[in-house]
């Protein structure tokens, strides 16, 4: 690592931290008007923070430096968000401070936990598993029916252009207000991407490898189990990851269309109408964290099963 660059990065970081601490200590009390010099100080700290990010980004060498730069940037955003909102007394409706959101998470934890169970553990998880499972099963079932494949594949691909969430009112009519109707929407949304990816994955095994199995006089089932399904795993995982995001969005939006009194989507839409920002932002944070964690878990699972694929090896 270039010594000069490290030094300048550390210098920038140090100065920015000092300015930030100073700014923090100089914050006026609740409701008090900020002194005239606060705004220039705020801007100066902002500049220093930006410089520290830039210097850190310029560093080469270790892989963790990239993550560190992004994390540093994120932390600075949080800091200036907190200071800025408090300092300039931004209305809570417009943008609440991070501390306020955190407080809301702690205070209304019980409500949010109930919403989480309703939306994520029931609608999302069950819908995602069922929809992906069905898509996979149908894909394998029509593997030996090229006519059906040629008929279904174009239609399945086209469904990605259609707002499938719009079936939510119909699902409510058929399955009631509770979570099964949301799960039904999720099943519909996750079925087609999985079907398309399974069909693509089953074609992924190379020609030589397939001929190799032929020279072994391997039965269809044996070739499927030993060659074609393992070769299809990267595709299947890609669909599982996409489906995780689709499932979460689907369940939340389906709740916008009508829901019992529990659920993340319900919470967001009703509390937003009531201007009850604490709960709204709390629910948003829960949804965001759920999405990221679910994706990260799937990435880890992929690393274990599709460890051999060049894309997974490159990322590791």
């Amino acid at each position: 690592m270039n010594g000069g660059r490290v030094r300048s990065a550390l210098l920038a970081l140090g100065l920015a931290l000092l300015a930030a601490i100073g700014l923090w200590l100089a914050m006026p009390g609740e409701g008090a008007e900020p002194a005239g010099w606060m705004t220039p100080a705020f801007l100066a700290t902002l500049v220093l923070a930006g410089w520290s990010v830039q210097r850190t980004a310029a560093l080469d060498g270790q892989r963790w430096l990239g993550t560190a730069t992004a994390a540093l940037f994120g932390l600075w955003v949080l800091f200036f968000w907190q200071i800025g909102v408090t300092l300039y007394q931004v209305p809570r409706v417009l943008l609440p401070a991070p501390s306020f959101i955190l407080q809301a998470l702690v205070d209304r934890w019980d409500v949010l936990a109930g919403d989480f169970v309703q939306t994520v553990l029931k609608a999302v998880l069950i819908g995602w598993a069922l929809g992906s499972g069905l898509g996979f099963a149908v894909g394998v079932a029509i593997d030996r029916a090229p006519f059906l494949q040629r008929g279904l594949l174009p239609i399945a691909s086209l469904t990605s252009t259609v707002p499938l969430v719009a079936v939510a009112p119909i699902a409510v009519m058929w399955f009631g207000f509770e979570w099964p109707s949301k799960a039904a929407v999720v099943v519909l949304m996750t079925f087609f991407p999985m079907l398309v990816s399974t069909l693509a994955g089953l074609q992924a095994a190379g020609r030589l490898e397939r001929e190799l199995m032929q020279t072994y006089a391997a039965s269809y089932g044996r070739a499927l189990l030993d060659l074609r399904l393992p070769a299809a795993m990267p595709f299947i995982f890609s669909a599982l990851k996409v489906n995780a995001t689709l499932a979460l969005i689907g369940a939340i939006v389906a709740e916008f269309f009508g829901s019992p009194t529990v659920g993340l989507g319900f919470r967001i839409s009703t509390e937003a109408a009531r201007m009850n920002m604490a709960l709204v932002w709390g629910a948003i944070v829960v949804a965001a964290v759920t999405g990221s964690v679910a994706y990260a878990l799937l990435v880890q699972l992929e690393r274990r099963i599709a460890f051999w694929h060049p894309s997974v090896r490159a990322a590791a």
Binding site: G206, Y216, R222
Partner: protein, 281 residues
């Protein structure tokens, strides 16, 4: 013929009476392969006659389009013939394939990246239904024979091209087929690696005297490895000349600088040129 689809743990690779019987390993009689196409049909093979005895090492050599790979694939039941007859150990190619009478090595290693090296060598044995421990010990032995002992737990991408191809050979030999078919197995490797592998293959063949049908476009390779060299030419794919090798059975790499070797190589080269000259008329 009642060759069953799946043999459960039989020790002999195929249900014929005596594998060391005198019949030829491969018999090809007036075999033709024609592909229909938009303008004129492509005659990949035209009335090819060839008999390969047990224990021979036969190379098929020629420029691209001469049908050498097609002939190999026809014997292996990877492609159908349009006319003529092919017999492998007295059976049709399909019966031979279903009774696991041969091993096939492709141009690329075709190893499964999700299996370790050892698991890859075990693959055909597992498909044949042998029990796991037997598969493992056979696989270890074969890896040792190609000089890859110690690499059992590696994954294919961690090996060089030459090593991967050696694994592919170990895999083909694992279930002890009497017939081995190889389609330009060393084509993608550099010359130095290639020489080493040629030598190793030679020694393996010396030991077990399997019948080998070997496709190559390298004259030196064909002369070094074979007991008989079949020169082919394209458009239509046919056999031009069959050359019996006069080289001794035991061979080492310095054999390649002897006048005998050079004479043989020259004869092959002439044969190839004749085939080519024919086309330019």
């Amino acid at each position: 013929m009642n060759a069953p689809d799946r043999l459960q743990g039989l020790s002999a690779p195929y249900p014929q009476a005596d594998p060391t019987s005198a019949g030829p390993a491969v018999e090809v009689r007036r075999a033709s392969v024609v592909y229909p196409s938009a303008d004129a049909p492509v005659r990949a093979l035209h009335e090819v006659d060839l008999t390969i005895a047990q224990g021979e090492f036969v190379s098929l050599i020629g420029p691209s389009g001469c049908g050498k790979t097609t002939l190999l694939r026809v014997i292996a039941d990877l492609e159908p013939i349009s006319a003529g007859e092919v017999r492998v150990n007295g059976m049709t190619p399909r019966e031979a394939r279903l009774s696991r009478a041969y091993g096939y090595v492709f141009q690329a290693p075709a190893l499964f990246p999700w299996r370790t090296v050892l698991a890859n060598v075990m693959l055909p044995l597992q498909i044949q239904g042998r029990d796991k421990r037997a598969c493992e010990s056979i696989a270890r032995e074969q890896l040792g024979r190609v000089g890859l002992a110690g690499f059992e737990r590696k994954y294919p991408w961690q090996l060089s091209g030459g090593m991967q191809q050696r694994v592919s050979i170990a895999r083909a030999l694992g279930f002890e087929p009497k017939l081995l078919m190889m389609d330009e197995p060393f084509g993608a490797l550099d010359e130095i690696t290639r020489d080493g592998l040629n030598d190793r293959l030679q020694q393996l063949w010396q030991r077990e005297r399997r019948t080998v049908v070997f496709v190559t476009h390298s004259i030196a390779e064909a002369v070094y490895l074979s007991t008989r060299i079949v020169v082919m030419s394209p458009r239509p794919g046919r056999i031009l000349k069959v050359i019996e090798s006069t080289l001794p059975d035991r061979r080492t790499l310095d054999l390649r600088d002897t006048p005998e070797f050079m004479a043989l190589a020259h004869e092959v080269r002439e044969g190839l040129a004749a085939g080519h000259g024919h086309d330019d008329d």
